[in-house]
Amino acid sequence: MQEQSFNDFLREIAPQGRTMLLPALLEAQKEFGYISKEMATEIGNALKVPFADISGVIEFYSMLHSEPTAETIIRVCTSPSCSARGGRDVHQQILTELDLLKDGATADGKYFVEEAPCLGLCDKAPSALVDETALGSITPELLLNPQDNVRTEVYAKESVITGRIGEVDPFSLDDYLANEGFLSFPNAVQIGPEKMLDCMADSGILGRGGASFPTKMKWAGAAEAPGEQKYIVCNSDEAEPGTFKDRVILENDPFSVLEGMMIGGYAIGASKGFIYVRGEYPKVQKTFQAAIVSARAKGYLGENILGSSFDFDIELRSGAGAYICGEETALFESIEGKRGFPRLKPPFPTTHGLYQKPTVINNVETFANISLLFRIGVDAYRSYGTEKSSGPWLFSVSGDIAKPGIYEITNPTTLRELLEWAGGVKDGAALQTVLLGGAAGKFVHPDQLDVRLTQEDAHAAGLTLGSGAVVVLSENADLKQTLADLGHFFAHESCGKCYPCQLGTQRQAEILDRNLTGSVIEGDFTRLEDVGWTMTDASLCGLGQTAASAVLSAMEHFPEQFK
């Protein structure tokens, strides 16, 4: 029965070929608990993918397995925020409880336990994902009796981008309409693509994915690029440790992102959009898929949208456990059914993106900002933020802090003010440091707290806001453990394409492990520096180029931690 329905599914997707490889593997994984050689053979025959490549793809994505797992899969987060709040202890406890010596399946085939990289549930640390249920403040008992208990708090002095969160039913298009929804798309259509781009340039809108690249540049590049077929891609592979704002937007206000993608399609002349959601966000996937279905039903997606000559549709794709797929070209490769290897640049996505076609790829929060911009206009948009960092900005605050959650900043705010707003360090402890910008960010020295959280101020202070992750570590946190966690994270997530990162993340993790266990050997400090700078200078993509960023900043601010 199961196998029959899977074969029907395969027959249905077969004409699309290799691009359906990841959906097919995910479906097989879900149906059968793993992908057997026989199943992989059928998938390869149906989609016409070389068999060796199928193994290559299965082995690349950590949520795919070629050996049987179990009825229930328990993924315990051991990334910095969760590790600092007891994630590693609970991981050990659940292994003991289930009579397991290490990650794997129980003898009765009921449970499969594995450590997971950041699950984007940092505000509820320690966290876990049991099958498709997200759990915060985990205990071994909760893992065995899972009930979704994650309700992320959202704080705003003036709710601009977060206005609908908690106020509307995310599954109701009518609710969206009743709350100023689908006002921006008609505005955009009215002024036309050329003026839209002027409007974006005037707004100064920057990408919210981490690199803060001017969004207008991407859109203008793709609009000008020759070609009939163009694509809009929403990067929803949020996996930067300490970052969970995209999850909160998509779980609570999916239509604002959908509308932003429509506007993008109209501006550059794309009829197709993809949203790539990480595999660890099943709730986001369900919510957004429902949004697509209801938007289609009411004529907001499809042909001749709202009586215009504009056709646009969106397809949701799931990731399968790979941080690197947040890198834009790796994400394209993943949609194309390949290992998520980042491509050499140039050429850039604006001319050679998904399927080598002109493509605009933006982050979730960026598309939400696009919706906002075309609803309230340039002047109102510019009334928030600063001249160089216009609009509202979201920060994900977690770690040793009294009130973790999403913070919307609409007026220049220093890091010190943000921490005070969030109730200060948990239990009144003193602050040790803040990891700003996630694993790819930097540690902030307590002397630097007066930096304003804008692109220009962070840059001037030698910091990066990255994706807006603010991980707070109190005086009681073990910084050596956090450093070792970071080392493991990057060694686990390096794709293995270029040598500096493939080798360097492993060497870095080994040295940081020695540092944690007090078995440092002579020369480790300069060894770590050489590895770090080599990754930073010579790696192929942003992952390798930032894999030592936090470690090098810790070596600068806290050299005593490396003795």
Binding site: K37, P50, A52, E59, S62, A491, C495, L503, R527
Partner: protein, 234 residues
């Protein structure tokens, strides 16, 4: 047509055709950057980063093999950053992979002053030799993941696709479908992968047997027996 760019390399002014890569220009002035992954028969992927040079005004180093030149580029081929990266890549590689049969890599380690013991207690790619067919063996602890064999097997030469890059990160490897022995894959034993391998990770069976001290007749017997076995299995 035939337009040129003028660039400065280590203080020397150089004119070069504008569609050149940095490496092509470096070759034209007899200063080629060192290479590990590149091969004339396979598509450059910029994997090893050993050919990186420093371009003034650029945040990161540029791989010479795939970076196109621009007018007025100022390039340093032996800056401190360049040398540190090249040396460290070699040191990290040597700590992971058996480079004893890769003379070019040995020469590079000497040239850049790489310390062969720089990373003690490092995890290596030590593993058993895969000996599953009459034509070649796969000794993957010598594999430095240049991808040339996968490229030769695929779009660059043979269009056979019997091997792929598997694993991830440091655990990356060259793999077949569910680790099947070569005779069970689509492999046609063309030998192109062996020909492009830089480290003897892929080695012809004859060479493998000779190293084990077998003489010509013994090798012939061994290979005949293996071929019979392989044919009989089908």
């Amino acid at each position: 047509m035939n337009k040129t760019f003028t660039l400065t390399i280590d203080g020397q002014s150089v004119d070069a055709p504008q569609d050149s890569t940095i490496q092509q220009v470096l070759e034209s002035i007899n200063k080629p950057a060192p290479l590990i992954c590149a091969h004339e028969a396979t598509t450059p992927e910029g994997l090893c980063r050993q050919c990186v040079v420093e371009v003034e005004g650029w945040r990161v180093l540029a791989p010479s093999c795939v970076t196109k030149i621009n007018e007025g580029m100022v390039i340093h081929t032996a800056s401190e950053r360049v040398i540190r990266s090249r040396r460290t890549i070699l040191e990290m590689l040597n700590a992971s992979v058996d480079l004893s049969e890769a003379p070019e890599l040995q020469a590079q380690m000497d040239e850049f002053g790489a310390d062969r013991e720089r990373f003690p207690h490092a995890k290596t790619r030590e593993q058993d030799v895969k000996d599953d067919n009459p034509f070649f063996v796969r000794d993957y602890e010598k594999c430095l993941m240049c991808w040339r064999c996968v490229q030769a097997c695929g779009d660059d030469i043979q269009y056979t696709y019997s091997i792929s890059v598997g694993g991830r990160g440091f655990e990356s490897k060259i793999s077949t479908f569910f680790d099947s022995p070569m005779p069970e894959t689509s492999c046609v034993f063309c030998g192109n992968c062996v020909a492009v391998c830089p480290t003897n990770a892929l080695k012809s069976k004859t060479e493998f047997f000779m190293e084990q001290g077998l003489d010509y007749d013994e090798i012939r017997q061994e290979k005949r027996a293996e071929k019979k076995k392989m044919g009989g299995g089908k």
